[in-house]
């Protein structure tokens, strides 16, 4: 634990240095707290088992409540924090008047701006502001803007694929059985196949989706299995 001997400039235990505002927390370098965290850190590094860490922490917490005393929480070096700033972002929301294009609001630009803002905040989390709370949420953007930009192109793609597959399958079945398209539709088996094809196209768009669906089913039933575990014992 050599790095604990260094003091103010070096932050003890965070490996992710991508966050730009870490240096503003000098309180972590105060002496009394370091010892406490040093001993907990030693446990974390020494034992791989999560249970051991928790037990140690639990006993530490109950016995050593005098540590961590008087360590002030300061934000003195706030200038280093880079906040999200944009001329169009006014008091917690996007100023829609600045997104005008040809008399109407350019919703695509609003969506792009919001995407950039959220990406920025994901990489540089900011404290919430009491004076200008964020009030912009995605429901401000009307539903048809979302449809036009995201749903319609994909719908076109899927319908195109379904039509191509459908045409080929109808031709194939006709060439094998001689049953024309109208008569195919009257048959129950064909109708089932059609249903399966439509459902398949909707649910499985990439190969990865099959695994995702399997995992989803597992996850949904896992919690229930844990609850019922105590009753399984009876049947053994």
């Amino acid at each position: 634990m050599a790095f604990f001997s260094s003091t103010t400039t070096h932050l003890p235990y965070f490996s992710s240095s991508s966050k730009t505002h870490f240096p503003i927390n000098p309180f972590f370098s105060l002496k009394p707290q370091i010892q406490h965290f040093a001993s907990v850190r030693a446990t974390e590094n020494g034992s791989g088992a999560a249970i051991a860490v928790e037990e140690k922490k639990d006993s530490e917490a109950t016995e050593e409540d005098s540590l961590g005393n008087g360590a002030p929480v300061t934000g003195a070096v706030e200038e280093l924090v880079v906040k999200f700033e944009d001329p169009k972002w006014v008091s917690g929301t996007w100023d829609l008047k600045q997104f005008q294009k040809g008399g109407a609001t350019d919703w695509d630009a609003v969506i792009d701006a919001e995407v950039k803002r959220r990406k920025w905040l994901e990489d540089n989390p900011e404290s919430s502001n009491n004076d200008f709370p964020v009030v912009f949420d995605t429901s401000v953007i009307p539903w048809w803007a979302w449809m036009k930009r995201f749903h319609l192109p994909e719908a076109e793609l899927l319908n195109g694929r379904a039509a191509m597959v459908g045409f080929f399958m109808a031709y194939f079945v006709d060439s094998l059985t001689g049953v024309g398209l109208v008569d195919q539709m009257g048959n129950f088996f064909c109708k089932t196949l059609l249903f399966v094809a439509v459902a398949g196209v909707l649910l499985i768009r990439k190969n990865e989706d099959i695994d995702t669906l399997k995992k989803l089913i597992d996850e949904t039933t896992f919690y229930d299995k844990q609850w019922q575990a105590t009753w399984q014992d009876e049947k053994k």
Binding site: D58, A61, T62, P125, Q226
Partner: protein
């Protein structure tokens, strides 16, 4: 307390009848000897003895229910004055059901803010009526009140550390509780044991109840300057985001004269300090100038243990794993499960006059508990899966929470632990806006993934 000479030691009664149907029905299965309540012998001259290990809300409630029903109860607690690391929030129904005096309440939280990763802030609590609030208490205050009330009902309080529970080899022998008091090892034979000893339950280990996945909750208690504390007078905050927790939430809860700032996680326990740093940064302007007075951490069970009842031992509370997902609430369920278990034992033993068996515990306690609360637990698990998985889903969650109907439903279900009555049309609107929000936020999330980093950097 000296070891009590157990009357059963001298008796030679083995009053367990074979269940005839089990022999005839399946020739390949082994003989099952089951004791049903109708064949258990009545005690003569003594009542059923029970040991409750652990004196928190679960243990005290069990002990109180047992003693009120006529069972000779011993409650073991190793540190009665300890302050448990805990959120300390209890719903309204607990105040009524467990007759908690109002002067124990430190704070009545009537507002909650939930803050998304992009700092979208939603005010929860617009729908609360004037008498509705979330009570914040100190665990040491609540626990000692419940324990002393149990004692007044006739429970014998034993301040000792239970070191081992000896499980008998034959079904008519008592369970032996080994405990240390004043550096002396003592033992107590009892008929029934209830394990209420928390996440690292020794009773659970003794009956091989199996393990469960645990989340770790880490919090720092910070004493704020007066003006900053005023902001949190009856307000609690919940933060969601990958920077504060990958699969749970971070919180700022007001306590008696300070705030508790903390976070939790299941899968990234090693990085808990990083997440704590994350929440401190997010709240920094609101806690600047405060002093850290305590740092604490505790495991929180994620799901029930594989075995909750074995022989004449039942698990309740955290030991059984009754903590809801999504909110991490455990105090009410601990107390309620303790009470239900105690009442089940009283019912099955007809007021402490008869011996009970595993089937009695399962029928009267487990079945009742599961049928009452499994839907609640399952629903909250579903919510956790859907809304805590990614930043996009968390944005959708916060968006949804802005809706008044959602707020009313949430609070009513939480405060009264009953499925709130909504009307069909509003439910349909809620479901469709849920789907809408999820779709929109996931679209934004996908776009975020494909964005060019150099474009974002222009904002600096």
């Amino acid at each position: 307390m000296a070891a009590i000479a157990h009357p059963l030691h001298s008796l030679t009664v083995t009053f367990k009848t074979q269940n005839p149907s089990s022999i005839r029905s399946s020739p390949t299965s082994k003989l099952t000897i089951s004791a049903t309540s109708t064949t258990n012998k009545h005690f003569s001259g003594r009542s059923l003895t029970a040991a409750v290990i652990g004196g928190g809300p679960a243990g005290s409630s069990t002990a109180e229910a047992l003693a009120s029903g006529g069972v000779e109860t011993y409650l073991f607690e190793r540190s009665p004055t300890g302050a448990k690391p805990c959120g300390g929030a209890i719903p309204l129904c607990m105040l009524d059901e467990f007759s908690i005096p109002p002067d124990l309440i430190d704070r009545k939280v009537t507002h909650m803010k939930i803050i998304s990763p992009s700092n979208l802030t939603v005010d929860f609590g617009k729908t609360l009526k004037s008498g509705e609030f979330i009570s914040m208490l100190r665990r040491e205050v609540l626990d000692s009140y419940l324990r002393s009330r149990a004692e007044s009902k006739g429970v014998t309080l034993v301040k000792a550390l239970v070191t081992n529970l000896e499980v008998p080899t034959s079904s008519n022998q008592p369970y032996i509780v080994h405990y240390t008091v004043d550096n002396r090892i003592k033992h107590l034979p009892v008929d029934v044991v209830v394990g209420a000893d928390g996440a690292n339950s020794r009773v659970a280990k003794s009956i091989h109840a199996g393990d469960y996945a645990c989340a770790i909750a880490f919090q720092e208690r910070i004493k704020l300057p007066e003006d900053k504390m005023e902001y949190y007078t009856n307000l609690a905050e919940m933060y969601v985001g990958d920077d504060v927790s990958p699969d749970f939430y971070a919180w700022v809860f007001p306590k008696c004269d300070h705030v508790a700032v903390g976070t939790g996680t299941v899968r990234s326990k090693r990085d808990i300090k990083q997440y704590q740093q994350g929440i401190r940064s997010r709240v920094l302007p609101k806690i600047a100038g405060g002093k850290v007075i305590k740092v604490e951490a505790h495991p929180i069970p994620e799901h029930p243990r594989p075995v909750r009842v074995r022989g004449r031992v039942a698990l309740v509370g955290d030991a059984a794993g009754y903590v809801t997902k999504c909110s991490g609430e455990g105090i009410y369920f601990a107390a309620k499960s303790g009470r239900m278990c105690g009442e089940a034992i009283v019912r099955a033993s007809e007021g402490g006059r008869k011996m009970i068996g595993e089937n009695d515990l399962k029928r009267e306690y487990l079945k009742q508990w599961d049928s009452k609360y499994i839907t609640t637990f399952r629903f909250l698990d579903l919510l956790q899966h859907v809304f805590y998985g990614s930043n996009a889903a968390r944005e959708a969650l916060v968006e949804l929470c802005g809706d008044e109907y959602v707020q009313r439903m949430t609070f009513e279900s939480y405060l009264y632990k009953k499925l709130a009555k909504g009307n069909g049309w509003d439910d349909f609107k809620m479901v469709s806006s849920t789907i809408g929000s999820l779709i929109r936020c996931n679209i934004v999330g996908k776009e975020m993934g494909s964005i060019d980093p150099s474009v974002v950097a222009k904002f600096v």
